[in-house]
């Protein structure tokens, strides 16, 4: 079974990379891009029966730094 973990910088935490992407989009002529936030998606291939609680523990311990990042788990 697969799980997806979406990790994003928390609201209010400056995202210089997202900001650079926003500038680049403007440079390509795409108007009206108000904000870009760049995060990451981590795909986990897990043993059947792995619980969402276990994945949450993985997020808290390693996959996200909850000082600056939030995460969202998608599981089947």
């Amino acid at each position: 079974m697969k799980a997806h973990v979406h990790v994003m910088l928390k609201d209010g935490v400056l995202d210089p990379q997202g900001e650079a992407v926003r500038h680049a989009l403007g440079g390509l002529g795409f108007g009206g891009v108000q904000q870009v936030r760049q995060g990451k998606v981590i795909e986990l291939d897990l043993a059947d029966g792995t619980t969402e609680d276990t994945v949450r523990e993985m997020c808290e311990k390693l996959l996200a730094n909850t000082v600056i990042e939030s995460y969202r788990i998608e599981m089947p």
């Binding site: 210089p16 650079a20 000082v67 600056i68």
Partner: protein, 222 residues
């Protein structure tokens, strides 16, 4: 004084740090990240600069969860001394030994140059060889040195004189120009600039030397 320098895959300032400790009169042992114990009688642990584990996931995140870091945390919890420089600072925030986090530089670019630092407090074994308010020149070399923390954390650091160094001219967007901070017991120091790269005439500057000298004299006397 006995120092242990932790070596992670991707550390690249480990030997420079060992040389700086040795020049200050310490006995130094290199400790591999997979080791599960520290050498007997270690006074201070150095977490060196570099790109541990290729900065994969987040800078310092994988190193902070390596086997030896359990011992590093236990050493700090016992009141032991730990200094983390550059990537070592990132590891310290990831372990939770120091608050806050290091984000990508505000200007996106990797910065490698010597910058002015203000010594904010002389009240620590690391900084008592300087005067509070003294300006020194120390190299920085980082892509993710933009210190961030909540307002509460910054107030707590400020009110308790835990900001060790501030940038004279903020190069990376760090909150409150913070370049280095101390733990509440003042024994754990994390800083982005590299004092070990300014500790010998041939480095082009020696302003970092006092940090290792004061540390060695404090810990040798203890």
């Amino acid at each position: 004084m006995r120092a242990a320098v932790i070596v992670f895959p991707g550390s690249n300032c480990d030997r420079d740090l060992a040389v700086a400790f040795r020049e200050a009169g310490c006995t130094v042992e290199m400790v591999w990240h997979k080791d599960t114990s520290l050498p007997e009688g270690v006074d201070i642990i150095g977490l060196p600069g570099g790109f541990s584990f290729g900065d994969y996931l987040r800078c310092g995140a994988i190193a902070a969860n390596s086997p030896i870091c359990t011992e590093v945390k236990a050493h700090a919890d016992r009141g032991g001394y730990v200094v983390g420089i550059c990537n070592g600072f990132q590891v310290l925030t990831e372990t939770g030994l120091l608050p806050g986090a290091l984000l990508r530089n505000g200007g996106i670019k990797y910065i490698c140059r010597t910058v002015p630092l203000i010594v904010e407090t002389a009240d620590s074994v690391y900084t008592n060889g300087y005067d509070a308010g003294q300006e020194i020149e120390i190299p920085i070399a980082h892509h993710d040195g933009n210190y961030t923390a909540t307002d509460d954390v910054v107030s707590e650091l400020t009110d308790n004189d835990r900001i060790a160094f501030r940038y004279g001219a903020n190069p990376n967007g760090s909150t409150a120009d913070i370049a280095g901070i101390l733990s509440s017991n003042r024994r754990v120091l994390g800083m982005m600039p590299h004092p070990e790269r300014a500790a010998d005439e041939q480095h082009g500057g020696t302003d970092g030397k006092a940090l290792f000298a004061s540390l060695a004299s404090a810990l040798t006397a203890a």
